[in-house]
Structures are given as C-alpha cells and as structure tokens.
Symmetry: C2
Subunit: 213 residues, 2 copies
C-alpha cells in the first residue's frame, strides 16, 4: 500500500536488468546460463539478484513473461488484425522470420529453445505447455476459419495447426543454425503453399510461391 519505500533504494534499473537476463537466457538456455553469467550480464551482484528476483527459476519465469510481452506478441496481433485464418497464420510466419533473425538479439525463439535438455524439474514442462498452447491457438483460429466457410469443412484443424507449429519451430531451429531473414521468408512462403484451398472464392491473398492454378 505504501508507495514510499524506506531505506536505501535499489541502485540499478530492475527492468533493464531483466532485459539483460532475458538476452542471456535466450542466447544460452536455462541451464547453460549460470548465475555468474547473469550477474555479469546484469551488472549486479548475486545477493542483489536474489533480493530483486527470487531464485534462478523464478527469474527465468519472469524472463519468459517479459519475452512473451516484448518479442512474442505478434501472434495475437495477427489474429486481431487479419481477416482470415490463412492471412493471420501467413503473417505470423513472416513476422516470426523477422523476429527470429533480429539484429542485435539472439536468433530463434526463446520458448522453443531455452529449456531443452533441462534437468531442473518444471522448467522444461512450462515451456512445453506454452508451445502447445500456441498450437492450440492456431487450431482455434483455423476452426473459426472453417466455421466461417474460409476453409473446407473437412479440414483437419488439429493436424493443420500442428503442421504450422512444426514449421514455426523448424524456422526457429533454422534461425539458430544460421538462416537469414530472407531464408526464413521464403521458407514461410513455401510452408503456406500447403494450406488447403479456399472454400469460398474471396481469399485476400494470392499464394506467394509458384501455384499450379
């Protein structure tokens, strides 16, 4: 309740430190990033870290939320602003191509890579749940497209959503392995060629790659 805090104030910017922690975890993953790495990157001592963020696991959870808000919100924007499921998911892939190769930031997606091969219980599960929630969101949007008549009624929404998820995750791996933004753009374009034919005739976009119309 009391907005005024007594005693010595914190000598560092909490959000700036969190952002540095995010970069470290994003780059090297949860376990490969040591507390010493974190304190060096954040420019603070270990006790300050523990006072401000709890323990390493709690800090990582907050980093994931920070990352989601700052670098992984393009999905919701695509759902909100694009009129069709196809347009929304095509835009999502293309924004991912940009986000996964942003200069000055680690490549790929933190949610996909930062908690693989993790011994600490719970860490791996948390990000796996997030990935599956993202694919469930794909499926929801696709089901809406089927209901609206955009997609054929016999479309397998779950399979199409999982396919898009696999492409997304594969793009992230490619970005980690050195693929450029334009590499990922053409990959995304190719991936959308697998999209089922429109049920109605008024799809807003043409197929980007060579279509056999």
């Amino acid at each position: 309740m009391a907005t005024k805090q007594r005693g010595r104030p914190r000598s560092f910017d909490r959000d700036a430190a969190l952002e540095k922690a995010m970069r470290a975890f994003w780059e090297h993953g949860y376990e490969a990033t040591t507390v010493a790495d974190l304190t060096r990157a954040m420019g603070i001592g270990a006790p300050s870290l523990y006072a401000a963020f709890g323990d390493k696991k709690t800090l990582f959870d907050e980093v994931v939320r920070f990352y989601s808000a700052a670098h992984a919100s393009f999905g919701e924007r695509a759902y909100a602003e694009e009129p069709t499921a196809r347009a929304a998911l095509a835009r999502l892939l293309h924004e991912a191509a940009a986000a996964f190769t942003r200069p000055g930031l680690p490549h790929g997606c933190l949610v996909v890579h930062a908690a693989t091969n993790c011994t600490t219980p719970g860490i791996e599960d948390a990000l796996r749940d997030r990935r599956q929630a993202d694919i469930a969101a794909f499926e929801t949007r696709i089901r809406a497209g089927i209901a609206e008549g955009e997609l054929p009624p016999d479309t397998d929404a779950a399979a199409l959503a999982r396919y898009m998820g696999a492409v997304f995750q594969g793009m992230s791996q490619q970005a980690r392995d050195g693929a450029s933004r334009s590499d990922l753009e053409s990959l995304a374009g190719l991936a959308m060629a697998a999209w089922p034919a429109s049920a109605k005739a008024d799809t807003k976009r043409q197929q980007q790659t060579s279509s056999n119309a």
Copy 2:
C-alpha cells in the same frame, strides 16, 4: 595386429554399453547427462568408461556415429531406392515419423536435440554441421530432380531443401512434445502438399491432401 590380448579381458559388452549411453544422451542431451548417469545406465564404473571410450566428449562423438548408423540411415536408403526426389523426401518424412516415435526409444532426433544449449565447445557445432549436411543432401537430391525434369527449372532448390529440413526438425520437436506417430504422419502429408507441381506429367504419387488441381 595381434588378435590375442594379454591381461584381464573387459568384463562388459562394449557395444551394449554404447547403446545404453546412446539412449541416455538421446533422452537428456549432452550436458544434462552426467558421467554418473552414464555409468549407472551402462552398468560399469567410471574408470571402465574412461578406459573404453576416452572422455565424455569422445564417447558422445562415438554415440552420434552409432546413432547415425542405427537410427538415422533412412535418408540414404530413401535416396537410393526411390525414383524421384519427391518420393524420396516424402518417404524420408514418413520414416522420420516412425523413427521419432519408436516405442521403447527416446522420441525425436538425437542430432536435432542432444546438443542444444551446450557450453562445451565443439559439441553444438558438430551436430549443427550434421544438420546442415543433411539439408545439403536434400538440396542435392532436389537439384538432381530439377535436372531430370521432375521439378520445374525455376525451383529454388536451396529454399525447398531448407523447408524440408525445417519440417523435419519441427517434427522432431513435436515428437519430443508428445505428438504420436499418426500425428507426425499427417504432418508429413501436409508438408508434402507444399511440394512444387511436377514439370513432367508422370509423377509417381498423388498429393495426399486436398489439392486445388
């Protein structure tokens, strides 16, 4: 040269121990698998492990070779036995769907996952090189398909190969996240729908999903 070896013979089966080590690395990755985990899984003491396999990194290298021969050789078989690039890569994806979800074995692909977020120098690079070599092999087969007239001459072989690699890696991630074999089969079928239209009229296979011909 001398087949007879003097002194006390080894009391365990080296290949069986190597297979156990492979499972451990496959399941948990390089760094998350400790030497204590390995000795427990292999049923031998640490000095026996070091005498028979060198150090942890050398053992891992041998595990990767063992894995490649035992569980990742379906690519070469597909290239050798299928008449078209399309058939070869479709078969490769479907065999991957089976291999990534084999009962009694860890899910997904060791080459894709076992060395992510790795601090030990060289480990991560070695598997990245392997992944890129696999994609280069895709590209070689696709280029041959273009030369043979199977694929349109304006096909972007590098992009198509990278797309197939991303799908392959995304399938592996999906398998790790709990996808079943049939999930991956339909994913592979969807992925092949992005394959460019045949240049000649004699493609051996129909498109699995709804095609807008």
